[in-house]
C-alpha cells in the first residue's frame, strides 16, 4: 500500500523534505512506517521511532496502529516546555 508522510517543520529540517510517499506491505503499522522513514532519512534516527507524536489523518495514534492505503501520517516532536 501507499501512504503519505508529512514532516512538521521540526522534522523537515532533518529530512530535508516536507512530504514523502512510502510503499509498505498491506498489514504494516505506523511503527513499520517510522522504520522505513529512518531507512530513507537517516538523520531522523535520533528521534524515530521513540521521540515522536504520530498523527494519522488528523488523529493521534500509537505506533502499533495498523495503516490503510492512502493514509497521511504527520510527525511532530513531543514538546512540553513553557
Amino acid at each position: 500500500m501507499k501512504i503519505k508522510i508529512k514532516f512538521s517543520t521540526f522534522f523537515e529540517n532533518l529530512s530535508g523534505v516536507k512530504k514523502a510517499e512510502l510503499y509498505l506491505h498491506p498489514d504494516a503499522t505506523a511503527k513499520d512506517a517510522l522504520e522505513k522513514i529512518v531507512d530513507n532519512f537517516p538523520k531522523l534516527k535520533e528521534w524515530l521511532p521513540h521521540y515522536v507524536w504520530i498523527f494519522i489523518n488528523g488523529n493521534y495514534v500509537e505506533s502499533r496502529t495498523q495503516l490503510k492505503n492512502d493514509d497521511e501520517i504527520a510527525l511532530f516532536p513531543p514538546i512540553e516546555g513553557g
Binding site: K6, S8, T9, F10, E12, N13, Y51, W53, F55, N57, G58, N59, Y60, E62, A74, F76, P77, P78, I79, E80, G81, G82
Partner: protein
C-alpha cells in the same frame, strides 16, 4: 460602558474591532496557569489589551535561570516573592484598572475548581503535561475554552480547545513526552505567548479565526510555520462523552 479614559486608552484597537468588542474584553475573566516563559507575555498583552479580570496561578519564585525568557521578572525579584505576586505588581503598573487575583499554590485536583470556576477562558502556560491534563479535564467538564501552547528551543505549538467543538488535549497528546530539562530561548516563549494572548482576544471579541481543531507549529530558526487539521478521538476518556451529549 467604556468611560472616556478607556475609549482614549484603547482607541487604536477599537479602530480594529469596535467599542462593543472592547467592552467584551473589559467584562472577560481569564486565568493564566503558569507564569513563566509563556505566561509572561500572555499576561502582559492581555493586561495591555484591557481584559477586565486576570487570575494568575503559579507556585514558584523567579530564579536566575528564568530571566532569559520570563520577562515579567528582573534581578530584584529573584527568590523574593512568588511569581503571581511579583507579576501583579508589574501588571498593575501597566494597567491599574485590571482586577488581578493571584494564587501562589500549585494547582491540583483539590483546588482547581476554586481557582478556575469564575473564569471564562483558561490559558495553559505550563511546562508539564501532568498539570496540563488536569486543566484539560476541568475545562472539558466545565465547558471552558483552553488555549494550549508548548515550546522547546526555537520551536513551538499552539491550539485552541473548545469543548464539544474540537479535540481536547487528551485526544491530541494522550502520552506525555519524556521528562527532560528543555532548552529554550526567550523569543520562542515570547512568540507563542503572544499567539496565546491573540487567541484569547479573538475568542472574546469574535473577531478573526481561532486555532480550533488546528495545531499550529512554527520554527523560528527557519521561519517556517504551518497548521494541520486535528480531529477528536471518538473513544477519548476525557471528552468523548461531551461530544455525544452535544450531538444527541
Amino acid at each position: 460602558m467604556l468611560n472616556k479614559k478607556e475609549l482614549r486608552r484603547y482607541e487604536r484597537q477599537i479602530m480594529i474591532f469596535g467599542e462593543n468588542a472592547q467592552e467584551k474584553l473589559k467584562k472577560a475573566k481569564v486565568a493564566i496557569v503558569g507564569l513563566g516563559g509563556l505566561g509572561s507575555p500572555v499576561s502582559i498583552y492581555l493586561t495591555a489589551a484591557g481584559i477586565g479580570y486576570l487570575s494568575l496561578v503559579d507556585e514558584q519564585k523567579p530564579e536566575l535561570s528564568n530571566l532569559n525568557r520570563q520577562i515579567l521578572y528582573g534581578e530584584k525579584d529573584l527568590k523574593r516573592k512568588a511569581k503571581p505576586v511579583s507579576a501583579k505588581e508589574k501588571l498593575k503598573q501597566l494597567n491599574s484598572q485590571i482586577k488581578i487575583k493571584t494564587c501562589s499554590k500549585r494547582i491540583c485536583r483539590e483546588n482547581i475548581e476554586d481557582l478556575l470556576d469564575d473564569v471564562d477562558i483558561v490559558v495553559d502556560a505550563l511546562d508539564n503535561f501532568e498539570t496540563r491534563y488536569l486543566l484539560n479535564e476541568f475545562c472539558v467538564k466545565s465547558r471552558k475554552p483552553l488555549i494550549h501552547a508548548a515550546i522547546e528551543g526555537f520551536y513551538g505549538q499552539i491550539t485552541t480547545i473548545v469543548p464539544g467543538r474540537s479535540p481536547c488535549l487528551n485526544c491530541l497528546f494522550p502520552s506525555p513526552p519524556k521528562k527532560i530539562k528543555f532548552p529554550i530561548i526567550g523569543v520562542t516563549a515570547g512568540l507563542f505567548g503572544v499567539l496565546e494572548a491573540n487567541e484569547v482576544i479573538k475568542l472574546i471579541t469574535g473577531y478573526g479565526d481561532n486555532l480550533i481543531s488546528k495545531l499550529f507549529t512554527y520554527d523560528l530558526l527557519r521561519n517556517k510555520g504551518e497548521w494541520i487539521e486535528v480531529k477528536p478521538n471518538p473513544s477519548c476518556p476525557v471528552c468523548s462523552e461531551s461530544f455525544r451529549l452535544r450531538h444527541q
